[in-house]
């Protein structure tokens, strides 16, 4: 028998280490070391109910176990084989106790559709993809469906584009299908530019064939025989695996002429991005593929009417494509049964920031932010307080405590002043200053704006400058009015999605953290202690023992003081790097 004890940060904080020791002690005392093993594990992702203990092989799941419970677990469960009922997990809805962890709703919180093969199959082996139902969807479509029928499946599934905008994929295909042209194109947008989102890269690295298969289906539906993958040059591994996959598909005749004897031809080539966030916008992406500057153009005409080389073009992103084979294998109804009324299926999120379980997760639409952050994500790092979660990258906004129970879908996020974006989810804690965060995103937008339209080119620069002024404690109330008006106008007048959403980080932080802006302006104070110009590091004399740790670690040698004497920070030299604060073990450095 194995007893698994969660050693994740969350559980550790609630003394799981003591529990672990007690359990081991009990095992030894009862001379069970031959049969029972106590194992510390990584985070179960259920930190709210920690510490967690799981018994293997019967999968009993104990929650909120205290160190003192060790005896009972060993005596009752390990020796007598009886479950300790009071420690069993109770379903929050029907209050029933659940003994087998596999029956817990928690395990259904994550459903992997787009990521179904990531971490399961060898991405460089097409046989493993085929063994996992690969290319069956393509075969089904090619051998028994008309383009119209297949497109209808897509419409019925309710799948919406995962790249940010959330446009219904089937309808997009249908528009491109209906346009008459001698040549059409399918484009896969793999120019994942959102800093903090990496699901597209992971899919291409872990399951490239699913994207290839979906692109061929897409080509069949709209009547295109040529596909292009526009991929970030910064993703060498994804490029490599995609190339291998393309070659294997060609060798098997799944790509090329007369695919699966259907008479349908399809080829895919790779185009490289070169580091421009705006190229995620489909018209900019198309210009970039044509060898031009990636400047967006006004829509209409939409790419479905006039896209790559002036021909009808359908652009979808990697995650969208990765969903598609499953839709055909399991049916549109099945897919539409997952998620919320208007957002079907699942969404992959790149969970990062001040969170314990940084990683890639996939949850059904409608999952709440709380479930994602505190259950799957394992809560906030180092036991700090949750402050905000930023979704949608530079286009999104910061959501707070009050949004935690909002079910995540396209429309709800938009209504909360943020957006789905490509699925970056950055969690912030009490140490993060919201003015700085807004400034960080604007810095990004200013750098990534293509410069074509005035509001985005100049407006974002001005937004950045005002935020910078505020973060230095030199802002005024009038600056806040300016931010608001400028933000509204930039959203209202910008040419493409980049500018139309770039003020979101500012506007949403102003909506949700107004007091923090006011503190910077009225009190010249940064409540999170992050804005360099507004903070001072000083030595708390009564705590300083003169250990010299701070002085030794100061990169600019601005801390003076002899051993065992109180130290002193020279403010004129201090660069406010915070190294002293981190190194001091005696709480003798304070930030003000």
């Amino acid at each position: 028998m194995h007893i698994l004890v969660c050693g994740g940060t969350g559980c550790h904080a609630s003394s799981s280490n003591l529990l672990l020791e007690n359990l081991k002690e009990q095992v030894d005392e009862n001379e069970l070391s031959g049969e029972v093993q106590v194992i510390a594990t990584g985070c179960f992702g259920f930190c709210e109910k920690g510490p967690i203990v799981k018994m293997v092989p019967d999968n009993t799941f104990y929650t909120q176990v205290k160190p003192a419970d060790a005896t009972e677990i060993i005596q009752e469960h390990a020796i007598k084989g009886r479950q300790v009922t009071r420690l069993l997990y109770k379903d929050p809805v029907n209050k029933e106790t659940i003994s087998d962890s596999r029956k817990m709703g928690f395990y259904k919180k994550q459903i992997r559709i787009a990521l179904r093969n990531c971490g399961l199959i060898n991405p460089e082996n097409i046989d493993e993809y085929i063994a996992a139902d690969g290319y069956i969807a393509l075969g089904t479509v090619l051998s028994g469906m008309t383009a119209e029928q297949a497109t209808k499946v897509m419409i019925d599934s309710g799948l919406r584009g995962r790249g940010g905008g959330g446009f219904p994929t089937g309808i997009k295909w249908d528009i491109a299908r209906k346009v008459e042209a001698d040549q059409k194109y399918v484009v896969c947008n793999a120019d994942e530019g959102d800093p903090g989102a990496f699901m597209d890269r992971s899919i291409l690295e872990g399951d490239p064939h699913s994207v290839i298969e979906a692109m061929i289906i897409n080509g069949y539906c709209i009547g295109a025989d040529h596909g292009l993958v526009y991929i970030r040059a910064e993703y060498p591994l994804a490029i490599e695996r995609l190339k291998i996959a393309l070659n294997q598909a060609r060798e098997y005749g799944l790509l090329g002429k007369d695919i699966l004897g259907s008479g349908f031809n399809f080829e895919i080539e790779i185009r490289y991005g070169a580091g421009a966030f705006v190229c995620g916008e489909e018209t900019a992406l198309i210009h970039s593929m044509e060898g031009h500057r990636g400047e967006p153009t006004f829509k209409p005409p939409f790419p479905a009417q006039s896209g790559y080389l002036g021909k009808p073009t359908n652009v979808n992103n990697v995650e969208t494509f990765a969903n598609i084979p499953v839709i055909f294998n399991k049916g549109a109804e099945w897919f539409a049964s997952i998620g919320t009324e208007k957002s079907k299926g699942t969404k992959v999120f790149a969970l990062a920031g001040k969170i314990n379980n940084v990683g890639l997760i996939e949850v059904p639409m409608g999952t709440t932010l709380r479930e994602v952050i505190f259950e799957i994500g394992g809560g906030i790092k180092d036991g700090k307080k949750f402050k905000a979660v930023q979704t949608g990258g530079p286009s999104g906004g910061c959501l707070t405590e009050k949004h935690l129970d909002t079910p995540i879908d396209f429309d709800n996020l938009l209504a909360s002043g943020s957006m789905m974006g490509s699925g970056g989810m950055i969690v912030m804690d009490e140490d993060d200053c919201m003015v700085s965060v807004a400034r960080f995103y604007l810095d990004f937008t200013v750098e990534e704006s293509c410069g074509k339209c005035t509001p985005c080119r100049v407006g974002n620069k001005r937004l950045y400058e005002i935020l910078d002024t505020i973060s230095k404690g030199k802002g005024t109330h009038k600056d806040l009015d300016k931010l608001r008006n400028l933000g509204d106008v930039i959203k209202d007048t910008s040419l493409c999605g980049l500018g139309q959403t770039s003020p979101n980080p500012v506007l949403s932080t102003m909506d949700n953290f107004w007091d923090e802006y006011i503190a910077h302006i009225e009190d010249h104070r940064c409540p999170a202690g992050q804005c360099k110009e507004l903070i001072h590091y000083t030595v708390v004399e009564e705590n300083c023992v003169g250990c010299t740790a701070c002085a030794r670690n100061c990169p600019v040698n601005c801390i003076a003081g002899e051993r065992k004497e109180i130290h002193f920070i020279d403010q004129s030299i201090c660069i406010k790097c915070g190294a002293c604060l981190e190194k001091c073990k005696f709480n003798a450095i304070s930030v003000s």
């Binding site: 910064e234 991005g273 060898g291 920031g353």
Partner: protein
């Protein structure tokens, strides 16, 4: 209207022409050609762009417009050990800015530039997708995860005798 002499080694010129030919001298392949050229020369000096423009039959201004648009392309040689500090959001909230500041302070060049001895160059980099290791620093191909400002000195020390 004074002309400019573009000087190139014969070998370099031939290599460039071969690259262009491998893309059938198609103007639409400009970005792919530039990637290849930067792969060969390490950067894209004016003369390389002039040759590419001629081979693909597009204006030099357009080539330059493209090169300056995309952050991946550079017209200055990078250091032998290019340092990239990830400034993606995940790294930012975990202190990447301070790490970048520390690099700048220690190698004494601003972002986008190369040390006079050509050893290091420093750049910000948008998300490498290793958010679990934030903040992330790349020196050449080597990845350093969970870098704190006081760890910067140690990283640079690794390259002391190189």
């Amino acid at each position: 209207m004074s002309a400019i002499k573009i000087r190139l080694k014969e070998n370099d010129l031939q290599q460039l022409k071969d690259v262009c030919r491998s893309f059938n001298n198609q103007e639409g392949e400009l970005i792919n050609v530039l990637h290849k050229a930067q792969g060969i020369f390490g950067y894209l000096p004016a003369e390389v762009q002039e040759v590419i423009a001629r081979e693909l039959e597009v204006s030099v201004a357009r080539v330059y417009g493209v090169v300056t648009f995309y952050s991946f392309f550079t017209m200055v040689p990078r250091g032998r050990f290019p340092i990239s500090v990830c400034t993606g959001t995940a790294c930012y909230v975990r202190g990447a800015e301070k790490v970048l500041d520390e690099f700048k302070r220690l190698i004494k060049v601003p972002v986008g530039e190369t040390t006079p001895d050509g050893k290091f160059s420093i750049a910000g980099l948008r998300c490498v997708g290793a958010c679990g290791l934030a903040p992330v620093v790349l020196v050449g191909d080597k990845t350093y995860g969970r870098v704190a400002p006081d760890g910067v000195k140690k990283i640079l020390k690794e390259y002391d005798d190189k």
